[in-house]
């Protein structure tokens, strides 16, 4: 369970503080694959980044005893002057992977970079970078994977592979995902949280959540 305890989050701006959440108390249940739904600017990404520990609430705290991944989508922390292998080792070290060598091998196999794995990342195409980042994340056993439009990376073949591995993962672990693609959310998730005006509502039934979300859209 991830519990949000009195979370207040705002961004300073010229018009004063823009509040995203005000004193939010909420428990995100365990053992579900959850989609985050909400219109643009509702705070999906903010919530997502706070769950990941990439940002912090201005007040209150987020507590959990689970291992959460980092937000996978972007090529986060990939250094262009280091090779794919060195980047992998960096991510492995930061996340506390026990066996770095076998982790390295797994990422190499999954990302299908072949020999280029030992070349600097700046020589990669953007698709290859995304593949590397995704492989780095999926090769670590987390309790919850935070997926942020990440499954739309690479060519169709890699996309299919990424989806399959994600489904495989979701048997043992869980996903929290942000996407504007309702079909993708239907594919992976079984429940949803709708974010509206700084409030969170959990729906056990995904379809109900989608209809609420689309209802407020119209």
């Amino acid at each position: 369970m991830i519990s949000l305890q009195g979370v207040t989050k705002y961004y300073p701006s010229k018009l004063g503080n823009q509040y995203i959440f005000k004193d939010l108390w909420f428990d995100i249940p365990e053992g579900q694959n959850i989609g985050l739904l909400g219109s643009n600017g509702a705070g999906k990404s903010t919530l997502f980044r706070m769950l990941a520990g990439s940002e912090y609430p201005n007040r209150g705290q987020i507590q959990t005893n689970l291992n959460l991944s980092w937000p996978v989508a972007l090529a986060t922390g990939i250094h262009p002057q280091m090779s794919g292998r060195e980047n992998t080792r960096f991510i492995g070290r930061v996340n506390g992977v026990i066996d770095l060598d076998s982790y390295e091998q797994k990422v190499r196999d999954f990302s299908e970079l072949g020999k280029r794995y030992d070349l600097p990342v700046r020589s990669y195409s953007s698709g290859m970078r995304a593949r590397l980042a995704f492989a780095c994340c999926i090769s670590i056993n987390f309790d919850i994977y935070l997926i942020d439009e990440a499954l739309s990376v690479g060519d169709p073949k890699f996309k299919k592979k990424a989806r399959e591995s994600m489904i495989e993962k979701s048997k043992k672990a869980n996903l929290i995902m942000v996407s504007h693609d309702i079909d993708e959310i239907r594919f992976f998730c079984d429940s949803a949280i709708v974010i509206d005006k700084g409030n969170l509502d959990f729906y056990n039934d995904l379809e109900e959540a989608i209809s609420v979300y689309q209802g407020e859209h119209r």
Binding site: R49, E55, W70, R93, V94, S102, I140
Partner: protein, 262 residues
């Protein structure tokens, strides 16, 4: 799939600092000169300046110290100050994308950058001592403990100052320019070229507020007991370091979460 181990907070810090250290090393010496440049640059500077100093005052010695050693402690320590300050202040911002990993915190980046610059200078110091051995300049280390302490204090002082600047620069970007302007005269007011005892005593109050000056004079005194440093005091360096460290850590504790969430 790769398992992750449960780590204590301290272990996470250690792992992260080590990972950042290697990462920085990789990007730092990536050009053709590599690590040689880190040695050639200060060495040529010291040779030039010590030659200049002997031209002005005559003789090979400055206050019983060989002119070369006199200049070496001045140059190395002022460069240590400038490099550690620039590196630690810039580290917070440069590593901003990495804070997406919850394990990576700004202070780890500062510690790693500081460690790196300090180790580079230590390496340069060792290489210059070796150089002095071959060109037969008298090498003395009369009070190595105090010398080590002075250098350690200077690094700690500078890293704290860098942490403060780095935090401020996340809020107000222009602080970076202010930092660059106020560090420029440091070279001239820290006694690199002239010792404090060369100055008329009535000007001392304008100079001896500066901990870098204290560090440089004290390091010369520690290496050559006969140098006779005047107007500087180890306890001043100790207390300015402690105050700066305290200030930096308290500001960090209050502001770091807000600073990286902007």
């Amino acid at each position: 799939m790769a398992e992750i181990k449960r780590r204590t907070t301290l272990q996470i810090w250690g792992d992260v600092i080590f990972a950042l250290f290697i990462r920085e090393l990789r990007s730092k010496f990536n050009d053709k000169f590599g690590i040689t440049w880190a040695l050639v640059e200060p060495l040529s500077f010291i040779l030039l300046l010590s030659y200049g100093r002997t031209l002005i005052t005559g003789g090979d010695e400055v206050h019983t110290m060989p002119a070369f050693s006199f200049m070496m402690y001045g140059m190395l320590l002022v460069q240590l100050f400038l490099n550690v300050l620039a590196a630690s202040a810039a580290a917070i911002k440069r590593n901003k994308p990495l804070y997406a990993f919850r394990q990576v915190q700004p202070i780890s980046a500062v510690i790693s950058a500081t460690l790196q610059e300090a180790l580079i200078k230590l390496f340069v110091y060792a290489a210059i001592i070796l150089f002095m051995f071959f060109v037969v300049i008298e090498i003395r280390m009369d009070n190595a403990l105090v010398l080590g302490l002075v250098i350690f204090l200077l690094v700690l002082f500078t890293a704290s100052l860098g942490l403060l600047f780095g935090l401020a620069e996340l809020y107000v970007e222009e602080v970076q320019k202010v930092r660059q302007i106020i560090t420029r005269p440091i070279f001239f007011i820290s006694g690199v070229f002239f010792s404090l005892q060369d100055m008329p005593q009535e000007y001392w109050p304008y100079l001896n507020w500066n901990p870098v000056l204290h560090a440089i004079e004290l390091s010369r005194q520690a290496a050559y007991q006969s140098f006779g440093a005047k107007g500087v005091d180890l306890s001043f360096l100790v207390f300015s370091t402690l105050i700066m460290l305290f200030l930096a850590l308290s500001c960090y504790r209050v502001f770091w979460k807000g600073a990286i969430s902007r």
